[in-house]
């Protein structure tokens, strides 16, 4: 007796489709995991490592080779000299060896006990070296006719050196020092507070300003397209260009903004906008709002233009005033896009680095977590501490993304 009903499980067609899908996705998954997931894992690894910027150059054997004494007639006995040193002043190198080829026509007279010659190949085993070790090897040789006719010098064949040095990045030394360093000190609390201020006010500001801009342009008139394009300028222009334009505009000595304020009688002496403590943070937040209001403006405008106009006509008939229409009709319709934008912008503002870095370099109380990563890793050259801050950032982001997945992806219909 056959059971009738839909087939159970995946059929061959579905399997083929899934295979094709993974095939199409493979390049993306591969690229993204090498450049995103791998570095993320690396960050965790590095954050437990006592690694500094200088450690990136692994210690290596530096070798110089020359020939001393005359070598211009048969029977002359010059010396081939090898000068070797450890490039690092801090770390030892183990199992140092080098090998070279002695040119034809030079016969070796005497050999260092650590070296061997077989056929014309010279290999020397120099054992373990301490940090900053130096060594000079000389090999006396006798010149024969072939050397003079060939014209091949000992320097012409480059010597190959090998040595094993322990790399901080790959060895098994771990430390919690990076984290204790980051969390200790009142600095961290300030960084956290600055980040929070910047993120919250930057996000709310872009939304509010974007909402106003969208309200202005939500009607068709001549020049609406031009204005819309114009209002997107701050977002489209390269951040470095606009950041420097702001710095020059608000320069404390020769900035136009100060000159204008003094001329209007608002202030008597020039204001150091990006150099004083509470003001610098406010200014970078204002810059963030200025630069990103176009984005929220575009989204809000797109949503506004998709609201049915019948509703407003009905409200007009019922005698609702413009403010009432805005408050009771538009705002509820816009809440969805506003909350999505809030979450997205919140996370992106939290992640923002270049703006503050270019405007103040994190000085004058504007150091956010992302700027702190750079400061620790490159200004203080402590890569490990930078990575520890990055881990903290990543932890915060994981929390945000739980929210994101819960709310935004539902709104967006993902």
């Amino acid at each position: 007796m056959h059971q009738l009903g839909p087939p159970i499980g995946t059929g061959p067609l579905a399997k083929r489709e899934a295979r094709l899908a993974w095939g199409l996705l493979f390049p993306t998954i591969f690229a993204v995991s090498t450049v995103v997931l791998l570095p993320l894992l690396a960050i965790f690894w590095i954050s437990f490592k006592p690694v500094e910027l200088a450690d990136l150059r692994a210690p290596e054997v530096v070798l110089r080779e020359d020939i001393r004494g005359d070598a211009d007639h048969v029977g002359a006995t010059p010396l081939i000299r090898y000068r070797l040193r450890n490039s690092s002043q801090e770390q030892p190198i183990h199992d140092v060896t080098f090998s070279d080829r002695i040119p034809e026509g030079l016969s070796v007279l005497e050999l260092d006990p650590r070296c061997r010659v077989s056929d014309r190949d010279l290999t020397c085993d120099l054992g373990d070296w301490d940090a900053g070790a130096r060594e000079t090897l000389t090999i006396p040789v006798e010149v024969q006719q072939t050397y003079l006719t060939n014209g091949l010098r000992p320097q012409d064949s480059p010597a190959v050196t090998t040595g094993v040095s322990s790399n901080v990045l790959t060895n098994a030394t771990f430390t919690f020092e990076n984290f204790t360093r980051v969390f200790n000190g009142g600095e961290f609390l300030e960084v956290l507070w600055v980040t929070l201020f910047y993120t919250v006010f930057g996000t709310v500001g872009t939304l509010v300003v974007g909402l106003f801009a969208a309200l202005l342009l939500n009607k068709s008139f001549k020049g609406q397209g031009i204005l819309r394009g114009l209002y997107l300028f701050p977002y489209v222009a390269p951040v470095i260009a606009v950041a420097f334009a702001w710095l020059i505009l608000f320069d404390p000595f020769s900035g136009s903004a100060n000159a204008l304020l003094m001329q209007m009688g608002v202030t008597q002496q020039s204001i150091n906008f990006f150099g004083e403590r509470p003001l610098a943070l406010i200014m970078v937040t204002v810059f963030e709002i200025w630069r990103y209001f176009p984005l929220s403006f575009l989204f809000i405008l797109a949503r506004m233009q998709s609201i049915d106009t019948d509703m407003y006509e009905a409200a007009d008939m019922d005698g609702a005033s413009p403010f009432q229409q805005f408050w009771y009709l538009s705002v509820p319709q816009l809440l969805g896009i506003l909350s999505v934008l809030f979450l997205l912008r919140f996370i992106w503002t939290f992640n923002k680095f270049d703006d503050i870095f270019l405007l103040t370099g994190g000085n004058a109380g504007t150091r956010t977590l992302t700027v702190d990563v750079y400061e620790q890793a490159f200004a203080i050259s402590n890569l490990g501490a930078g990575a520890a801050v990055a881990v903290v950032i990543f932890g915060c982001l994981l929390t945000f993304s739980i929210f994101f997945l819960k709310y935004v992806s539902r709104e967006e219909g993902l």
Partner: protein
């Protein structure tokens, strides 16, 4: 009390006059460098008077020419809403007065036209207020957007010592001719900006093509094909974007230092597309979903393979989306600063943004810095204005990063 024509008319008119006089004062200061400042009390007074007159008499041509003429005369004798200093030239004084008079008399009618002297309905009252606020909004937004760019362009054309003397004087001497563009000429002849421009352009174009090559198949798979893990995958695409660049930049810097990829064109070309693939994939899959599946199914029935369907049916149909995505990716790559700053040290390999960063030193005059900024801004702006429709569509479709 507020909702009476003879109260709200003068109030709005006075506020509007203050806004206009500030605008005219700022504009004239920026254009000429001569002292102009708004007189708040006088603006309120004359604005209120003009408002009361226009509400009382209603609209007529004579009245508005009268207001304009009155404001002109007041401006000339120095009692107008915009105050001038003793050293302000006669011509700029006249231009300021006429500009304010013209702007005010042309714009006050649309604001006040529905008002009557007596009691107003809530609708009339709010409409007038909203019109006034709208006007203020246009001025405010245009000012905040334009001023930084104006300062950027003008600083690049002016000598630094001139600007030190009077930071407001942005007037340029046209008679200088080609001398005006000296800083640009020096950028290209001494600071290698031709190479940077070329580097930026090639890197951006490569980024666009590599991104599309990865994102199109990926987006198609997520949008059309059924496989286990599809929902999880399409969610995690955007999550990738939540990872801040600086967190990734640190290990990338270490890896590039150790493998010798720093300071290389290919290193940058390898890394840029990865930052743009997720967003391109997300934008494209949204568009692919919107295409009718029936067209593709017809292709499949006629014996095309899936890949042929993508190539011959889906891609030609989604050309507008491809244009948007390409533009957006081009913009990201062109404007990218952090990775270029960290990974490039060799002046022959700089991109434009990295090149501008290298101009930021006390030995190089500011006009070069601003000229460099203009050089980086103009191409992306031109591209954007030319293809504005694609750009806005792309931005909204992608929901997009910042």
């Amino acid at each position: 009390m507020m909702r009476r024509g003879f109260v709200i008319g003068p109030v709005l008119s006075a506020v509007w006059m203050v806004v206009l006089s500030v605008t005219v004062a700022v504009c004239m200061s920026f254009a000429t460098g001569e002292p102009f400042r708004p007189g708040i009390i006088l603006s309120l007074l004359w604005g209120a008077v003009a408002g009361l007159i226009s509400v009382y008499f209603g609209w007529s041509k004579v009245l508005y020419f009268g207001i304009a003429a009155g404001l002109c005369i007041l401006g000339f004798i120095g009692l107008g809403p915009v105050l001038v200093g003793p050293e302000t030239g006669l011509i700029s004084r006249a231009v300021g007065a006429v500009a304010l008079a013209a702007a005010f008399s042309a714009s006050i009618r649309p604001i006040l036209c529905d008002l009557v002297l007596g009691r107003l309905t809530r609708h009339e009252f709010e409409t007038a207020v909203i019109r006034c606020l709208t006007g203020i909004g246009y001025i405010f937004f245009s000012a905040i957007v334009l001023i930084p760019f104006y300062v950027m362009v003008m600083t690049s054309l002016k000598n630094q010592s001139e600007l030190m003397q009077n930071p407001l004087d942005f007037s340029i001497d046209i008679s200088q001719g080609a001398e005006l563009f000296r800083s640009y000429e020096e950028l290209f002849s001494q600071f290698n900006f031709g190479t940077y421009l070329f580097n930026s352009f090639t890197i951006s174009v490569f980024t666009v093509f590599i991104t599309l090559a990865f994102a199109i198949p990926g987006a198609y798979a997520v949008a059309r094909l059924r496989f286990r893990g599809r929902a999880a995958f399409s969610r995690s695409i955007l999550l990738i974007y939540m990872v801040p660049m600086i967190v990734l930049a640190l290990p990338i810097y270490i890896a590039f230092s150790m493998t010798g990829l720093r300071n290389s064109f290919w290193g940058i070309v390898m890394i840029y597309p990865v930052t743009t693939i997720p967003v391109a994939l997300y934008m494209l899959q949204g568009y692919f979903r919107g295409l009718p599946a029936e067209v593709e199914e017809a292709g499949l029935m006629d014996g095309l393979s899936r890949l042929a369907v993508i190539w011959k049916i889906t891609l030609p149909l989604s050309l507008p989306a491809l244009a948007s995505v390409s533009l957006y990716v081009f913009m990201i790559a062109w404007n990218e600063f952090l990775l270029a700053f960290m990974l490039l040290d060799d002046p022959t390999k700089f991109t434009l943004t990295r090149g501008i960063a290298s101009l930021n030193s006390s030995e190089i005059p500011r006009q070069h810095l601003m000229a460099g900024s203009v050089v980086a801004t103009v191409p992306i702006m031109a591209l954007f204005l030319g293809l504005e429709r694609f750009m806005t569509n792309g931005l909204t479709a992608g929901s997009v990063k910042g």
